[in-house]
């Protein structure tokens, strides 16, 4: 296999149809978690708690969806947490209490665009100025955090004069139609966003070039694809999802909290990784990311119900992240 070695060397990674297997493993893991927690605690298996889990997954899940695209392209985005916060603050500035006083839909629109714009700047710095993604988005993470605090004057912005705003997340359109089914809108926003993301990844040019760039960037360039522009688009898309996350968290908290956001990016990246997306690029799935996000929130929720202190919840989550990736590595090694 002398020659095969050269290929895998030139592509830099072993590539097999491993994504499906990892997803299956992750999904199995999620089921096992549900069974264990249900057995250990009656409080876990209530409808209200399930709702709570889904609500807790929503924001992290949407951030994870966006960063999935970036990670598939072989990059990373550390700024999504604070860009989310920045977007929330912008929504507040446009439509919040005692601010500009524009209608809420305008606030939501500008909030989304703020995220997309920050992402586009990330992408431009990375693809045109050749700054490594880790550094570029680390910088943006700090910039967005600083700007959030400056713009909000270090105080939360509330949406008390806009009672409808909170319903974006917490209201229930389904409950209004089908009495008794008080499923919060957050669930539908999450799954809707996931469907859109899955469509983009599988069916559109952007999705195709995302995988191609992550798989072999130079070859993609030599094939005549304008890699710089598409990379910018990928980071902008990720930013757009962060913007959506910002709108969602502002709605859920009924306020824009400018100090929030640091650490959200790592939870999102953890969800993506648990879902089987390779940090070296070229492979990953939306379904995997959603499962990964649910694993993290289920774990947090279940451990809290079992009265495990928050500090220990973090320890467990960290162990799970390492285990998930380690299992993937073992499996690849066996496939050789």
């Amino acid at each position: 296999m002398a020659v095969m070695d050269t290929t895998s060397a030139s592509t830099g990674k072993a590539v097999r149809s491993s994504g499906a297997m990892q997803k299956l493993l992750a999904f199995g893991g999620l089921i096992v978690l549900f069974i264990i927690f249900s057995l250990l605690s009656p409080a876990f298996r209530t409808f209200e708690n399930m709702q709570g889990i889904v609500l807790a997954t929503a924001v992290n899940g949407v951030l994870a969806l966006g960063v999935t695209f970036v990670i598939i392209s072989g990059g990373i985005d550390l700024s999504i947490g604070t860009v989310m916060t920045l977007s929330a603050v912008v929504v507040g500035l446009v439509a919040g209490d005692d601010k500009a006083g524009f209608p809420i839909y305008l606030g939501v629109l500008v909030g989304l665009l703020t995220g997309g714009f920050a992402g586009a700047i990330n992408g431009t710095i990375i693809s045109r100025m050749n700054v490594p993604p880790f550094i570029a988005t680390l910088g943006m993470m700090m910039i967005a955090r600083g700007l959030s605090l400056v713009l909000a004057e270090v105080k939360p912005i509330y949406f008390n004069n806009l009672p409808g705003f909170r319903d974006i997340m917490m209201g229930s359109v389904l409950g209004a139609v089908v009495p008794g089914m008080q499923v919060p809108n957050a669930v539908f926003i999450l799954f809707g966003a996931a469907l859109v993301a899955a469509f983009i990844l599988a069916k559109t040019v952007l999705g195709r070039y995302d995988v191609a760039i992550g798989s072999n960037e130079e070859a993609t360039r030599l094939s005549g694809v304008n890699v710089a522009s598409w990379k910018t688009a990928i980071y902008a898309l990720c930013g757009l999802f962060a913007g959506l996350g910002g709108v969602m968290i502002a709605s859920r908290l009924n306020s824009a909290q400018p100090a929030l956001g640091v650490g959200y990016e790592l939870d999102a990246i953890a969800a993506v990784v648990i879902g089987g997306t390779s940090l070296s690029g070229g492979e990953g799935t939306i379904l995997g990311t959603i499962i990964g996000a649910f694993i993290i929130s289920t774990l947090t929720n279940g451990l809290r119900i079992l009265n495990v202190p928050q500090e220990w919840q973090m320890v467990v989550t960290g162990v799970i992240v390492i285990l998930a990736v380690y299992m993937d590595i073992i499996r690849r090694r066996r496939q050789g």
Partner: protein, 525 residues
């Protein structure tokens, strides 16, 4: 041969510090295979990268179909009908073959941003059919052998309706059978009137496949000759500007007796199966076989780079436990990977650092400080002894030619006092002049009592260099030949001697079998 398609004249190109091309010329006719040869650094690749729009020329003219053209980027070249297949394959391993073929110009659905996957697959299938390739467009590129990936690249190039196809070292990674297959495709294209530029270091191939040969040297055009009538020796002397007599090595007169290394019953999955052999002092033991035969796997197992399931390795008759490359080095074994740049050298570091890299401990003073003058002297010694052409030992290795890089790796292992050296494809990507130097060096090392295992896919090289030849097929050793009795035919016979129980093996690693995979597929159906 048809009309002139491409005429490049007076081409000039400089890179910082290097005048790569000076008044170079090249002419290509429709329906010819035109070989472009020259030593590394002669300017062949630069010339073709200018033609395919990757580099911009500083001066000169390119006429295409009689009209002067400007080729600013690869896309422009593709539009003209010029495609280049690069030495490093340029496929996206995670995408399917069809997705690879149509990357950058996918058929879209009515909505402009949506892909028409059906059409991508169907178009690719008919493309493969027209080339008589039995490949499934929906398979991922990663699951293909290098040879098949290359076929996909050719298919991709043809889908642009290319009139000019440039192939840079297309056979470097292929086995004999796969080269036959490639030649079949190339002849097919020539029939259709495609002009093919064929860059290769394997001169013996040129007479088989090419119609005309253009020789370049030091960025200059030397001559264009008719392939049918020219002697290979003549080509070589045009390339190097002097005559090299390819001498056969002098074998030691007395057959060596002392066994230095012995492998007994090595096994690892389907890759290595019951491999036993011995290596004698002062011997060059050739390892021949097709791609995927398991030669590199055996070498890596002995070197401790990969684990084994069972078996043992004895050095000087004593069993040793080699669990890591570090153990191997301590037992006097050095491994020179076929991929020097990736595994053999720290490219960004200078010659001196690379030479002492594997034996740093020897150069440490009392309190762990590196003895600079000692490392310097050692490096100078090997630069002299191995005639490494470098301005100084402080030169960074990445600025050296392939042959000189290989010598630096050899110097590194000699510094580490290794007595057993495993060379994996020692002359891959090295030009003719440097090749014969490497051969001479291997010979000298053997004469000095070093024991050498040489893995090579080039049969003439194995035959010329080895005292004994071990042939592998599908992870087994299928035979052992003495230098006197081995011929290309006898080696190929052993290299294709399959065990007949192939179907019982769990699909051996997604078609990694390379040259053997055709037979495997046949049996699995």
């Amino acid at each position: 041969m048809g009309d002139v398609v491409v005429l490049m004249e007076g081409i000039d190109k400089s890179f910082p510090g290097v005048h790569a091309l000076e008044d170079a010329r090249f002419e290509l006719r429709a329906g010819e295979v035109h070989a472009l040869v020259g030593e590394n650094g002669a300017g062949k690749s630069t010339m073709m990268k200018i033609l395919s729009g990757i580099y911009a020329k500083d001066a000169g003219s390119i006429r295409y179909d009689g009209a002067e053209v400007n080729i600013p980027n690869p896309r422009a070249a593709q539009h003209l009908g010029i495609s280049m297949i690069h030495q490093e394959l340029n496929l996206m391993p995670h995408l399917t073959l069809a997705q690879n073929v149509f990357i950058g110009r996918e058929p879209r659905e009515r909505l402009r941003f949506m892909l028409d996957e059906k059409e991508i697959n169907a178009d690719t299938q008919s493309l493969f059919d027209s080339m008589h390739l039995k490949l499934n467009p929906k398979v991922k590129a990663a699951d293909l052998t290098v040879a098949k990936q290359q076929m996909v690249e050719i298919a991709k190039a043809l889908s642009f309706n290319s009139k000019v196809l440039i192939m840079d070292e297309p056979t470097a990674a292929l086995t004999e059978t796969e080269i036959e297959e490639l030649f079949r495709i190339i002849r097919q294209l020539r029939e259709k009137g495609v002009g093919i530029v064929y860059i290769s270091h394997r001169l013996e191939e040129l007479k088989q496949i090419s119609d005309r040969i253009t020789v370049m040297r030091d960025g200059h055009y030397v001559d264009t000759v008719d392939a049918a009538t020219i002697e290979i020796d003549r080509i070589i002397s045009m390339m190097v500007g002097r005559t090299i007599f390819e001498s056969t090595p002098e074998l030691p007169e007395k057959p060596p007796v002392e066994v230095v290394l012995e492998a007994r019953g090595l096994n690892r999955g389907a890759a290595i199966r019951d491999v036993s052999f011995n290596l004698k002092k002062g011997e060059i033991l050739g390892f021949a076989g097709l791609m995927g035969a398991g030669r590199t796997e055996v070498a890596r197992a002995i070197f401790g780079a990969d684990p084994i399931d069972s078996g043992e390795v004895l050095i000087h008759g004593k069993p040793v436990h080699i669990k890591s490359p570090n153990d191997a080095v301590n037992n006097g074994i050095g491994y020179l990977s076929e991929d020097r740049k990736r595994y053999g050298l720290a490219l960004g570091m200078d010659v001196e650092s690379n030479v002492v890299l594997a034996s740093f401990k020897k150069f440490l003073g009392a309190i762990g400080i590196v003895n600079k003058s000692k490392t310097h002297d050692t490096a100078e010694h090997y630069v002299q002894a191995l005639s490494i052409r470098t301005p100084s030992v402080q030169q960074r290795v990445k600025n050296l030619s392939g042959g000189n890089q290989q010598k630096v790796v050899i110097g590194k292992w000699l510094t580490a006092d290794t007595e057993i050296l495993i060379f994996d494809e020692p002359t891959r990507g090295i030009d003719v002049g440097a090749k014969s130097e490497i051969y001479r060096l291997l010979n000298d090392l053997a004469q000095e009592g070093k024991s050498i295992i040489m893995i090579s896919s080039e049969l003439p090289e194995v035959l010329r260099m080895s005292h004994r030849i071990v042939v592998m097929c599908e992870g087994r050793i299928t035979g052992e030949l003495l230098a006197g009795e081995a011929t290309q035919e006898s080696i190929m016979k052993l290299a294709t001697q399959r065990s007949g129980i192939v179907a019982d093996i769990p699909a051996a690693g997604n078609g990694q079998n390379g040259g053997t995979s055709k037979a495997v597929e046949g049996k699995q159906v």
